[in-house]
């Protein structure tokens, strides 16, 4: 057992953190909120140049071919900076869907462009009044002999306005399938929906949108299995990002608690407040090791059907609870727009509610343990 980073891993962490300190202060985060595009080109370009966009993509497609463990290190930094980027939807989920289910033509068409940041792909998954399971996919892809016609409504499609391709989860006769869809195709309308996290996301209506049979990712009916396997690994990175956000929120709160004086002593000298922070640090430090354990196991090729959901469940709750107690310590300023605490507070809850929420994660874990 050994929790040390290698020299190379430490370099990736330092490089990412330095770049984000320079290109992603909280003004950058604020500017991206509610923006129809939702991320700054300068930051995206930096990420591409440092190889972060291709981090998890094989060298043969111009990527860095690193494991999900290195991904977790980078995501803790992205979470710490609350970096507004389409990295997760494009360079993680879409890239992994193509890598695990795509044919050579699809991989050749997109992976290199994802790796160098030239193209952005994003999954269109969730639907109104529907949940995270396969039952949640009601958008239909009906066969018309040649190809398919997609009809229905998707929600929470992140960075869709910048997407070069959507990966649409749709119901076919064979089950659930994944389709590469041009967002400019006729029959598609997009509407931005503002969200608690204030990241760019869209509701998309598909009205008989034509796709060719070649645009299906994987064999007929294989989509849900591919999706689930990709998600099990990918949520580990969101857990890492939650730890980064929680860690920074706590660090800034500790600084504040050391400097703000009431009743002639710093806030941190009040036991009730210091104990909130001690509890938060314990959950953060434990959650971080759980993330690393999950990522390390995934990198070893072992199943993370249990560890992946556990990491997302625990770390998102840790992030949410940390922002709650930190708001209590900051007092009134915590919920003013002027102070940054409110950004952590909103984003922690928003992250917990999506990409598998608490009840869904609990059910995944229960299934693995009990059934």
């Amino acid at each position: 057992m050994d929790l040390d980073f290698t020299e190379e891993q430490q370099m990736v962490i330092d490089m990412t953190r330095t770049m984000l300190e320079e290109h992603c202060d909280t003004q950058v985060v604020r500017d991206a909120e509610d923006d129809p595009k939702g991320y700054p080109d300068a930051l995206w370009k930096q990420m591409s140049e440092l190889g972060l966009n291709g981090l998890l993509i094989p060298e043969s497609y111009g990527g860095g071919e690193q494991t999900i463990l290195e991904g977790a290190f980078v995501y803790e930094e992205l979470g710490r900076a609350m970096a507004p980027t389409p990295h997760f939807v494009s360079c993680v989920v879409s890239a992994k869907l193509l890598l695990s289910g795509g044919n050579d033509a699809q991989k050749n068409a997109w992976l290199e462009k994802i790796a160098n940041g030239d193209s952005i792909l994003t999954p269109a998954w969730l639907e109104p009044q529907r949940g995270f399971s396969a039952k949640g996919i009601a958008v239909k892809a009906e066969s018309d002999g040649e190809g398919f016609k997609i009809t229905g409504r998707k929600r929470s499609v992140a960075y869709a306005s910048s997407a070069d391709q959507l990966i649409v989860l749709a119901r076919t006769d064979a089950g659930v399938d994944l389709f590469l869809v041009d967002p400019n195709a006729s029959g598609i309308t997009m509407k931005q929906l503002l969200s608690q996290g204030r990241e760019a996301q869209y509701q998309i209506d598909f009205d008989g949108v034509s796709v060719s049979a070649d645009d299906r990712i994987g064999a007929a009916g294989s989509g849900w299995e591919t999706w689930t396997a990709v998600m099990q690994e990918s949520v580990i990175l969101l857990a890492a990002s939650a730890i980064g956000g929680a860690d920074r929120c706590l660090t800034e709160t500790v600084e504040y608690a050391n400097s703000r004086i009431q009743f002639d002593k710093p806030l941190g000298a009040f036991q009730s407040l210091s104990h909130y922070m001690a509890d938060a640090s314990t959950s953060i430090d434990g959650g971080r090791v759980l993330v690393h354990e999950a990522a390390w196991n995934a990198a070893q090729g072992r199943s993370v059907a249990r560890l992946g959901p556990m990491a997302k469940l625990f770390c998102c709750e840790t992030y949410r609870e940390t922002t709650r107690v930190c708001a209590q310590i900051w007092g009134g300023v915590a919920f003013t727009i002027e102070y940054d605490q409110q950004i952590f507070f909103r984003r922690a809850k928003a992250l917990q509610l999506t990409w598998w929420d608490t009840p869904y994660l609990e059910e995944l874990i229960a299934k693995d343990v009990l059934d």
């Binding site: 057992m1 050994d2 929790l3 040390d4 980073f5 290698t6 891993q9 463990l69 706590l250 500790v254 608690a257 050391n258 002593k265 710093p266 941190g268 000298a269 009040f270 036991q271 210091s274 104990h275 922070m277 001690a278 509890d279 640090s281 314990t282 959950s283 430090d285 434990g286 959650g287 090791v289 759980l290 690393h292 354990e293 390390w296 196991n297 249990r306 560890l307 556990m310 469940l313 625990f314 009840p359 994660l361 609990e362 059910e363 874990i365 229960a366 343990v369 009990l370 059934d371």
Partner: protein, 393 residues
């Protein structure tokens, strides 16, 4: 980064596991004793410890000149996790805080007398720090030790001494220098439990443990049994907690309780339906196994920090203790909630679910967030030493 044991560590873990299976004995190993199972309080359990001694598993991390093997402390961690997983007695105070303090600070007489006894499992110790006025404020011990001809005269009272009702020797902190600052006026002594001035009064608890009050009435302790330097007692007590990095609290009993609960839920029915299909039960199980995984992660963090050989893993140990003891209670509470009205059937009766394992464990784990440094003390340590917050009391 590596979450597996090294091959040689895994080999040792496998060897211990196989040995424990071969040497299983219901008289010695009993999960219903919960944390009390770690003590060697019966002839059968003492005989079991002799077998461990014969395997060379006591004092593995000690220096060779004192009969140890000078191997890494992580082997003692592996051993104790395996022992506690089987609810067998564990290597504890003798090999740990007492042995290691004697090696560092003891005189030749003490080393020659006690270290071989520890290695051969010929001695059981009790540790006496707590007193009526020295709970979380451990340095506030008032047990009086007055210098007399050829030794010391001890008068006063200890409180919450586990093991005092069967131990052979008592490792005791006493105030030798009342005029000095409270941390500098304490010294450590080894007291024979047969001393006629000692009176042990057991205090039954709702848990599995019998704890004790110990009264000192003119207890004479010869000079040879003062450990280390006079006035350095509290510093040695603190240092021992740092020296003894690996065998403090084991995770296995909690992980084992989670496993037992999961296995029970898988088979149980309510109103003729499988209990495991109840969404409320599924949610509780998911939270328990997740928190248990976090406890394991904090344990890994603590062990890796201890292995590094750098500064003592004080923070890691406090975080692990804080999280894990609270989880331990939560598991028992949730287990009873899952079992419903049958959960309240008292332990030991065949009609109780799991023979009342969780009814008993619910009572037995109440002390975990209190003993060994309460949760609040752990949070104070984390707040000050880890986060750099000011003193808060």
């Amino acid at each position: 980064m590596d979450f597996d044991f090294l091959p040689e560590e895994q080999k040792f873990a496998d060897e211990v596991e196989a040995w424990l299976v071969d040497n299983h004995d219901d008289e010695v190993m009993d999960h219903h004793r919960e944390n009390f199972s770690q003590l060697s309080d019966t002839p059968e359990r003492c005989a079991f410890m002799k077998k461990l001694a014969a395997k060379g598993w006591l004092g593995m991390s000690w220096p060779k000149e004192f009969g140890g093997q000078e191997i890494e402390g992580v082997y003692e961690y592996i051993l104790n996790e395996a022992l506690s997983k089987h609810a067998a007695p564990q290597i504890g105070k003798g090999v740990g805080i007492i042995g290691k303090t004697l090696i560092r600070h003891g005189n030749d007489f003490q080393k020659n007398k006690f270290l071989p006894m520890v290695l051969n499992a010929d001695v059981e110790f009790a540790v006496g720090y707590s007193e009526p006025e020295a709970g979380s404020d451990a340095a506030n011990m008032q047990l009086k030790a007055e210098k007399v001809e050829g030794g010391w005269m001890l008068n006063g009272q200890k409180m919450w001494t586990t093991s005092a009702h069967f131990a052979d020797w008592y490792w005791v902190g006493a105030r030798t220098d009342p005029d000095k600052k409270k941390h500098d006026g304490l010294s450590l002594f080894l007291v024979n439990m047969d001393n006629p001035g000692l009176e042990v009064v057991s205090l039954p608890t709702i848990g599995k443990d019998t704890t004790n009050q110990v009264f000192f009435d003119d207890v004479f302790v010869p000079d040879d049994y003062l450990v280390g330097e006079r006035g350095r007692g509290f510093h040695m007590i603190s240092e021992a907690l740092d020296l003894e990095r690996f065998t403090m609290f084991t995770l296995s009993p909690i992980a084992h309780r989670s496993d037992v609960l999961v296995d029970w839920v898988k088979e149980a029915t309510r109103d003729d339906e499988p209990l495991k299909d109840d969404p409320n039960v599924r949610q509780k199980i998911a939270q328990i196994v997740t928190d248990t995984a976090v406890a394991k992660a904090l344990s890994t963090r603590f062990v890796c920090a201890a292995k590094s050989g750098g500064k003592p893993p004080t923070i890691e140990s406090s975080q692990y203790k804080l999280f894990t003891t609270s989880l331990s209670q939560r598991v028992c509470k949730d287990a009873l909630d899952i079992q419903g009205h049958e959960g309240a059937i008292m332990e030991g009766q065949d009609d109780a679910p799991l023979r009342g394992r969780f009814e008993g464990a619910y009572r037995a784990t109440v002390n975990e967030t209190v003993g060994g440094g309460s949760s609040e003390i752990q949070k104070n340590i984390i707040a000050r030493r880890h986060l750099g917050l000011p003193k808060n009391f």
